[in-house]
């Protein structure tokens, strides 16, 4: 599987890493991370490892701390305690820009797009950022052609070619979420964080998104961590599942183990079914 090769590549690319006991070289590692809001512990002493090439789901009831967990990884919020390590570097106090440069890119539970611009223009900002030319006050022909080609490529990957010139704010909700993923993809993520990518979608939209996430993982070689409430999707595509409940990790393992876990069944799946 490509996951295994990606994982090996990561391991050889970073030989100075301390090998984890029997486990993969930790691509993303959270060490005893907590985040308090006043007296509320939204994330409570969470330790977490993710290998390169993984497709991992984070599940848990409303208010479990899933989005907060993403905020700590992506740098929107600093943790109250603990450390966040990505690809061998302690990024706990590093800026959002630094994390993105390292390859951590996210989407949001509430779609964040450039609403008055077209699909093409939304993705263009990401492509120009990825090429490091944001600050250029003019653009030459060659560069423009290269940028446009890359945009078309990304639009094709997410199957929005026929809507490339449409204003994103006027698209259906499902398409808007796909645009957000395409924009995230445009900056070249190594770890993609998707916060409820199928939230509020109809059946066919959901299917399209699930297929997209799967292809990003297998064809584009992106490691994906996604929050999801739909258990069919979670158990359908995730290679590994982390269950959060009231800020704590309740369970963590492959789908078979999670579905068999009595604590998870009691605390979460039982309610959801």
């Amino acid at each position: 599987m490509s996951a295994a090769t990606a994982h090996e590549a990561a391991a050889t690319a970073a030989p100075m890493a301390a090998p984890q006991a029997a486990a993969a070289w930790p691509f993303l590692q959270m060490v005893n991370v907590s985040r308090r809001f006043g007296s509320l512990k939204a994330v409570d002493d969470v330790s977490f490892d993710m290998a390169a090439g993984e497709l991992r789901a984070v599940i848990g009831p409303n208010g479990a701390g899933k989005t907060t967990f993403f905020n700590l990884i992506s740098g929107l919020l600093p943790p109250s305690q603990g450390r966040v390590i990505f690809d061998g570097e302690d990024i706990t106090r590093r800026s959002i820009a630094h994390r993105v440069a390292k390859g951590i890119v996210r989407t949001f539970q509430i779609t964040e797009i450039l609403p008055d611009l077209s699909v093409f223009e939304n993705i263009r900002v990401g492509v120009e950022t990825a090429r490091g030319i944001n600050a250029r006050p003019w653009i030459g022909r060659g560069e423009r052609i290269a940028v446009n080609r890359r945009i078309e490529e990304l639009i094709a990957i997410v199957n929005l070619t026929d809507k490339a010139r449409r204003i994103v704010g006027e698209l259906a909700h499902g398409d808007q979420r796909v645009v957000e993923v395409a924009v995230a993809l445009s900056v070249g993520p190594r770890l993609l964080l998707l916060d409820e990518p199928t939230a509020g979608m109809g059946d066919s939209e959901t299917e399209h998104m699930v297929d997209l996430v799967r292809r990003l993982h297998s064809d584009q070689g992106v490691s994906v961590l996604f929050i999801e409430h739909d258990m069919d999707i979670v158990f359908g595509i995730a290679q590994r599942i982390t269950v959060l409940d009231r800020g704590r990790v309740l369970a963590d393992g492959p789908p078979e183990q999670i579905s068999a876990d009595p604590q998870v069944r009691a605390a979460y799946l039982g309610e959801a079914e």
Partner: protein
């Protein structure tokens, strides 16, 4: 009409202006004034309409440009091009130096700091009256004939209009190029969704700074021409009332469109010129027009031609 045809018609009308404007009761200097304000407001609109920063003190850079040009002519050298250059640098550098104070603020705080900075310059100009003429304004300078090799071009009203039109063309080319560039795309993205941009690894502040600084240079450029138009400049050219008028002009014409501010300026300046000869309460009528346009065309008059920001 297609967009290209509209724009072609606009240029023809501008080039022919000294012939047709007097026929409808205008005068060439009014055309110059419209183009000067168009440069200023289109420059401001880089911040306001395209970057989404409520720059409400832009007249400061307009006025600094005017004082820079006037004082160059009065105290330094009798050269129109140098007056324009120095005035543009004075106003533009002021905006560049103050940009860091502005770039982190958003929404109403952006508006407040830009107004405050604007008023600061206003008071400096008023207080420094031995040099600036204080409340009475700066007079005693005049635009000089332009020497191109052996050719001397006297800056009559009509020739000056063509100088302004040339400056307008240059400014339009610069702004158009900017808005087509990655920098311009980044500005629009800041306006649209700052958070999205941050999570693509971009730090918006420095781009807001660039936008504010460049707008400062362009507005100051317009300010120098304004001083040359009247051979006079006064503290009113830096006052927040003029800043507010700039914003009104932009909103009238359409802040999402490139040429929108030009339309707004035409409506405003023409209304001001005609109405003020009829009534002292002309501002009331401007207000009325403003309210009507905002109600009828939320995207400004230019919004009729242009359903959304084409330059994005």
């Amino acid at each position: 009409m297609t967009r290209a045809a509209t724009i072609a018609a606009m240029w023809i009308a501008l080039i022919a202006l000294p012939w047709w404007l007097p026929l409808i009761g205008g005068y060439t200097a009014l055309g110059s004034k419209v183009l000067i304000y168009a440069i200023a407001t289109m420059g401001l609109n880089l911040v306001l309409g395209f970057t989404g920063g409520l720059s409400f003190g832009q007249a400061a850079y307009f006025g600094l440009g005017g004082y820079g040009a006037g004082m160059t002519l009065k105290y330094l050298v009798p050269s129109t091009p140098l007056a324009i250059l120095i005035g543009t640098l004075v106003g533009g550098l002021a905006a560049t130096i103050l940009g860091p104070l502005v770039m982190r603020r958003r929404g109403i705080y952006f508006a407040m700091i830009t107004i405050a900075i604007g008023q600061l310059f206003y008071f400096v100009i008023v207080r420094w009256n031995e040099v600036t003429g204080g409340e009475d304004g700066l007079a005693g300078f005049g635009r000089q004939d332009i020497h191109l090799g052996n050719v001397v071009i006297p800056l009559t009203d009509v020739n000056f209009y063509y100088l302004v039109l040339l400056c307008f063309t240059v400014a339009v080319a610069v702004m158009w190029t900017l808005l087509q560039s990655p920098l311009g795309h980044t500005w629009v993205a800041i306006r649209e969704n700052r958070r999205r941009l941050q999570f693509l690894g971009v730090r918006p502040e420095r781009y807001v700074w660039a936008s504010f600084a460049i707008a400062g240079f362009i507005t100051a450029f317009a300010g120098t021409l304004n001083a040359l138009l009247f051979n006079f400049t006064s503290p009113q050219d830096l006052h927040w009332i003029l800043s507010g008028d700039f914003v009104i002009m932009i909103v009238l014409g359409g802040m999402r469109s490139f040429f929108g501010p030009l339309i707004g300026v035409i409506i405003f300046v023409v209304a001001q010129d005609y109405l003020s000869s009829l009534t002292d309460n002309w501002m009331t009528f401007i207000g009325l027009i403003f309210v009507l346009i905002v109600l009828l065309f939320p995207r400004g008059v230019f919004g009729i031609f242009d359903r959304r920001a084409k330059i994005a």
